[in-house]
Subunit: 207 residues, 2 copies
Amino acid sequence: MHHKQTLMPANSQQSESNHPFSAEERQHAIGQLVQDEGRVVTQKLVTRFGVSRMTIHRDLDALAAAGLVRKVRGGAVPATDAIQPAAPRTATCAMCNLPVSDRSVMMIHSRSRGKLCACCPHCGLMMLGNLDDVEAALARDFLFGRMVNAFDASYVIDADVRLCCVPSTICFATAADAERFQRGFGGRVTTYATAQALLHAGHRKQL
Amino acid sequence: MHHKQTLMPANSQQSESNHPFSAEERQHAIGQLVQDEGRVVTQKLVTRFGVSRMTIHRDLDALAAAGLVRKVRGGAVPATDAIQPAAPRTATCAMCNLPVSDRSVMMIHSRSRGKLCACCPHCGLMMLGNLDDVEAALARDFLFGRMVNAFDASYVIDADVRLCCVPSTICFATAADAERFQRGFGGRVTTYATAQALLHAGHRKQL
DNA sequence: CGCGATTGTAACATAATGTAACATGAAGCG
DNA sequence: CGCTTCATGTTACATTATGTTACAATCGCG
């Protein structure tokens, strides 16, 4: 009796509700939604698909059991998503797909794309240059291992230490540290802005 | 429910445009804020997230329980030790009992005492000097993070980088790396034997 | 020092959400 | 036809997140 799809006016906005979904189709659609939007809200799925709260929960259970999503209170997020407070040890770089080294990791918080992980400042800076809704960006200071504001940090580019991607880009909390490192291992000490420009120029050159 | 979210338009009931924050996300955001800005003020979090004072307090309680922040009157500051939230930081140094930093860890295999963990080469070398049945000793190369044979490694003692115990003792896979590091950050480049002697001499002097 | 303002916290209330147990109705199958 | 199975709905209850209130603890200031 509550099956809205049978009662829907023809001009209804909720296109999906016009035809009844099989369980499989609905679950597949939910999985897509999670991937596309980063997060789904149970209550919205209830109205969107015109099924009961329990049914949505069962769908999410099935998706979670299949490892496709992770249930959170109120909805679900992508299984790979790292809303978790813990740093994703098994994460791969959102830019180059290499496994993320704990030593050089960068974390970027984008409003639209959530929490992104970069294997090293090279990839991290590239990503930052391509995002326009960054809420925060943190890079790991090479010397002390602390996370620092990526925009305030200093970087040594192309030092004789190849940690990850090339040209090697190493993050330091202070310009003084970067300079001392450069004295020993070469490379060029830059601010965030300069590093950003250099890396992007280098990549464009290749095109 | 009628709480006065003076900062947000009243029409946004649950809209993700303004407050996509579930409890989990909000706590995560707060944790990042603490790391990023060094300190957060409870009252500002209340207005920023549009939740009650109690809710913010509970968030901070949760973050503090997880060891991610330390509550202070009026807000929270980064937990001094916990830069890395996850990780098996259960290990403590067999010499000084400090939690073992993944960055500078040394592993010593003793026939009689089994596998011992040192927080840094300082403690590791001290332990090695006191053990007579060592099967193997590995230290983490500071530059690349690889484990190297502690007896073949080079060490920079008393550089201007205080990572763990004092006098700071930093391990490098090669003498060349140690020298380049010394060029920037000072200290003295030594072999295993020399570092060993220096550290023990320093400690005996205190007695 | 006392006093007011701010902050921390405990206790309770409430709404939203999660979940288990049972009911229903359709489809398939002997 | 009756039976089973499956997806779903309904109901009831547990759990969680949050707000509200009251009060204690602390700070700042005259």
